[in-house]
């Protein structure tokens, strides 16, 4: 049985703002299914006494002091911007959401 439905792939695509064709939905569903099934195999070896792991290193409380460090220059900042204006990143308007 497949771990992910076509509808779920469509939902994820919508959340990621990716335009996915009908044909791609089928293809991605199949590919994602392989990934999910592989990950699900980890579940086969979990034991009651092992808590879910979110961090692979046994560290807590790693902090830095509240001291200012150098920033990037505006040119460096905007070097990777697809487009810019007035020192700001220029992006297409967002249709679906209101601030």
């Amino acid at each position: 049985m497949s771990a992910i439905s076509r509808e779920e792939v469509a939902h994820l695509a919508r959340l990621s703002r990716l335009a996915v064709t009908e044909e791609e939905l089928d293809r991605f569903a199949g590919q994602l299914d392989v990934i999910l099934q592989s990950v699900a195999r980890v579940g086969e070896v979990t034991a009651e006494d092992i808590p879910p792991t979110s961090h692979s290193v046994p560290l807590t409380n790693v902090y830095r002091d509240d001291v200012v460090q150098p920033c990037l220059t505006p040119d460096e900042v905007l070097a990777g911007a697809p487009d810019q204006a007035e020192g700001r990143f220029r992006v297409p308007r967002i249709l679906d959401e209101e601030e």
Binding site: T60, N61, V68, L72, V77, G87, R88, R90, R93
Partner: protein, 498 residues
């Protein structure tokens, strides 16, 4: 769209019971952002306070700012919350360009502080507002919508983004549903935000200025028939002042009552408060439920506050603002409204220190709430940054009390102090503003005034002492305001008696 006749507030609240909830965001006043060392100053040129971490560039790794964690714990403690012994940050994934990472680092099911309360005073009665959670997250960048006619997102063709604010620590404080307030719901909402603001200000962790956005408030409101289940709630955003908090709840109660009266139902939606009309307008309702796909932030290790650290922070909490204000109000001999003005002006600390430097409560309050408050308003600066120190204000008042300056001259001296010309005594000497105390010069001026106004002088000689005012004015004019009016008056009466 048909317009529904709105009931009066009394009418609406007579038939329905309101449930309110408040979600408040406080921008912390740390030197640097929450997960990187970029500065947080307000008003810098766009994108000059950013680095690979807050831009979410590949390979960059965040490290939590200890000061941000500490401030959040202190807020939690001041709100009587439990502090988590272990918790994690979480990624809140969403697609919007105000965060370059495509997620906001926040907290989800493991907030740092939970289950507290705030007692607020409403018309002399204490109302307990439960606190559901206090969690830490990061602020987003600022988007500017351009191309449209109004500057609003509708009709805009593109957005310009400044990430200076992205990553500044933000603390979210969520109340439990507040029930049983009846008609006082709007006042309770306002009193809660006021108390919250004062508590956070007393901790010194944020400047909590609603007009600058360092304190932001969303208001949830629902109505139900007495005894019935809670109704559907709406969330009102864009509530930017204490007064607006009260107005937003009030207008939402009226709007919802009208809908329910007409047999309609309330749509669960985000609404926007309109400052000009005082009512709320529907935001665009989302077609699909939000799906943020939260998961534990793998790049930040868990937070496990040392119990000893938490105990020390608890022991070091300042006096509760409401208790402190009541104490100061009594000591200064002023009413509740006056005290509220002092609090709102951010002058409590300054007046306290001015009194500690030797001024009387009335003298200290007069300068800070008068000349200096006016100046701070005009220049848009904080009272604390207006250019005069408590010690200088105390010295100024001392010069007045000892008769070296009169009120008018003191104002001129204060102007010099604020302009950076030095301490009051130095300004007085440098500008030659001291009261004319040379009795020879003063006597000459008085005699001149008497000679120039024989009619008035005659009246005074006849016992019409009130007429002396005209002569005082004449002498003050002759000495360019640099005489002590009281002394002049005495001198006039003395010269004309007998």
């Amino acid at each position: 769209m048909t317009t529904i006749a709105l009931p009066s507030y009394d009418d609406a609240i007579g038939r329905y019971e309101p449930v309110i909830g408040l979600e408040t965001h406080v921008e912390l006043g740390t030197n640097t952002k929450m997960f990187c060392g970029c500065p947080t100053g307000f008003g810098a040129e766009p994108n000059t306070q950013v680095c690979p971490v807050c831009l979410g560039l590949p390979g960059s790794l965040p490290v939590a700012n200890r000061a941000g964690i500490e401030a959040t714990i202190r807020i939690g403690l001041a709100l009587n919350c439990d502090i988590a012994s272990w918790c994690r940050m979480a990624r809140k994934n969403y697609f919007y360009p105000d965060m370059p990472k495509n997620f906001q680092t926040s907290q989800y099911d493991e907030p740092l502080c939970t289950d507290g309360y705030v007692d607020v005073d409403v018309d002399g009665e204490t109302v307990r507002v439960g606190i559901e959670r206090v969690h830490l997250e990061e602020d987003t960048g600022k988007t500017l919508h351009v191309g449209g006619a109004t500057g609003r997102i509708h009709g805009a063709t593109e957005s310009l983004v400044d990430y200076n604010r992205a990553g500044i620590p933000l603390v979210e404080i969520v109340t439990k549903p507040v029930t049983g307030t009846g008609a006082r719901a709007p006042e309770v909402a306002r009193a809660y935000v006021t108390e919250l603001r004062d508590i956070i200000r007393s901790l010194g962790v944020s400047d909590v200025r609603m007009e600058q956005g360092s304190l932001r408030c969303d208001v949830n409101t629902s109505l139900n028939l007495p005894g019935a289940e809670w109704g559907t709630r709406t969330e009102t955003k864009n509530v930017n002042s204490l007064r607006s908090v009260e107005r937003a709840v009030r207008s939402e109660i009226i709007r919802q009552a009208a809908l329910l009266d007409g047999g309609g139902s309330i749509l669960q939606e985000t609404r926007h408060f309109q400052e000009d009309t005082g009512d709320t307008r529907s935001g665009r309702s989302k077609e699909t439920a939000t799906d943020y796909r939260y998961f534990p932030e793998p790049d930040l290790v868990p937070i496990a506050p040392d119990p000893e650290w938490v105990a020390r922070l608890r022991a070091e909490l300042p006096e509760k603002p409401s208790v402190r204000y009541a104490r100061l109000r009594e000591a200064w001999g002023i009413g509740e409204l006056d005290m509220q003005s002092v609090v709102n002006a951010g002058a409590v600390e300054l007046i306290e220190r001015t009194i500690a430097a030797g001024a009387s409560p009335a003298g200290a309050r007069k300068w800070w709430m008068g000349e200096l408050a006016r100046r701070a308003n005009e220049t848009g600066t904080d009272l604390a940054d207006v250019g005069a120190t408590p010690a200088q204000v105390a010295e100024l008042q001392h010069l007045v009390d000892t008769g070296k300056l009169n009120d008018k001259l003191a104002r001129a001296v204060l102007e010099g102090v604020v302009a950076g010309e030095g301490d009051p005594t130095a300004v007085m000497d440098a500008r030659g503003l001291g009261v004319v105390s040379d009795s020879g010069a003063l006597t000459a001026a008085v005699d001149e005034a008497i000679a120039a106004n024989p009619d008035i002088a005659a009246k005074i000689r006849d016992g019409k002492v009130a007429a002396a005012g005209a002569l005082v004015g004449s002498v003050m004019k002759a000495t360019r305001g640099q005489a002590d009016a009281k002394a002049v008056r005495e001198l006039i009466l003395e010269r004309l008696s007998g």
